[in-house]
Symmetry: C2
DNA sequence: TAGATTGTTAATCGATTAACAATC
DNA sequence: TAGATTGTTAATCGATTAACAATC
């Protein structure tokens, strides 16, 4: 597995988007692309694309451009998509079930192998082919199964305790959907999806959309 | 409504997080905080906090710090949370239903007034107190109701057409959960939540976690 | 070979941090 | 008033863009 250090998060954050666009190009049977063409497609500069890719080595060829298939595969490797991960979902509400049903994830190597909840009513019912188990079974389950990722789709007041429970039992990464910032030991990877943050960005932009036809003013209007 | 121009997106992206932390402080009955204390809490620098807040005016008081309640309210206003929005959800799958059930959103002013799907089986069934309607009713519905936001929780191949349909009928903002980048007219606000991008960040960090106890090397290992 | 396009260095731009005078 | 902490300017740092030599 490739390991990279010293690559800035700004670059890393763009990688999944490259990966997605390259996948789309493959679907359209486009097998070769220049940084200029890709830049136009993705609304970036060609220079930035070349800089980004060169953090990881020379994937292109002078005078030719980039091989789409090759670049897609390589970016996949950088992102860690060349292996599989076992994931459990904590919280069998709508969001938890939505994640469990997301067939795309399995294709990228993220396999949901367990769903847990505290509600005894849900015990034993199935989501896809996965039975919902009780949280009380979790410690034993984690000892018997190799789980790398736990998705937290539960209320914020339960998130901290659950995160601590699973990481104490060997889980190395938390995918956090609870409306809170988890503070966990440094070696635990935490990736948060704050839906309300996203919605607030949306409403900010609705109030503050800069109409490019109007002249820009730096003044603040009430 | 306050309008701000020329404030960088880096600053805007931090606002929801400030809002969240200030809310938590209020819950703990903390009514006053200095930039230094808040910085420690949020893992930022005091300097950055003061810079950020001063993009919008002086919310603090020398020698005292910031009034938590006041700052929370003001950031809420900046984010556009001092008004209400009508939102519809397109796609009544698990994710769509999860969003419809998220009671928090209503508290921030985002009111789900309609859910739409193409599956006739779902026609008329209820999510919370909202009936699922058929997409074919959408144009008429949009003429009769004032809808500002449409959340797209449907397969990527339907996303583009739906986004175009609703924006043609007056919807000004799209909250996009489909695994695709929508290209829409400039005056349409698009905010995307790419779950798989987030998951890829997670797996990247799992492979590339920089153990601070080890010495850093800039070399690439295979 | 000539044309095209990368890889890479240098220049610019923007964001973060530091410093301190203003002031509560 | 003295102490504390902001608002704001200046310095630093990092990220993006431009330029061009290397090379396919």
């Amino acid at each position: 597995m490739a390991r990279y250090e010293g690559v800035s998060v700004s670059v890393i954050r763009r990688l999944p988007r490259y990966h997605r666009f390259l996948y789309d190009l493959l679907q359209k049977d486009i097998h070769r692309i220049s940084s200029r063409e890709l830049a136009e497609l993705m609304n970036l500069t060609a220079s930035q694309i070349r800089q980004d890719l060169n953090c990881f080595g020379g994937f292109g060829q002078q005078g030719y451009g980039y091989n789409v298939q090759h670049l897609h595969t390589e970016i996949g490797k950088i992102l860690g998509l060349d292996r599989t991960y076992n994931m459990i979902i904590l919280g069998a509400g709508n969001l938890g079930q939505a994640l469990a049903n997301y067939s795309k994830f399995a294709r990228w190597g993220f396999k949901v192998i367990g769903i847990f909840d505290v509600d005894p009513e849900l015990d034993g019912s199935m989501v896809r082919d996965i039975p919902i188990r009780m949280v009380s079974e979790l410690p034993r389950y984690l000892k018997e199964n190799d789980v790398q990722i736990a998705a937290l789709t539960l209320p914020r007041n339960q998130a901290k305790a659950m995160a601590e429970l699973v990481t104490a039992n060997g889980v190395k990464a938390i995918w956090n959907f609870a409306h809170t910032d988890l503070k966990l030991p440094e070696d635990v990877i935490v990736e948060s999806v704050h839906l309300s943050d996203s919605l607030m960005q949306l409403s900010y932009n609705m109030s503050n959309y800069k109409d490019k036809t109007q002249k820009k003013s730096r003044t603040k209007e009430k």
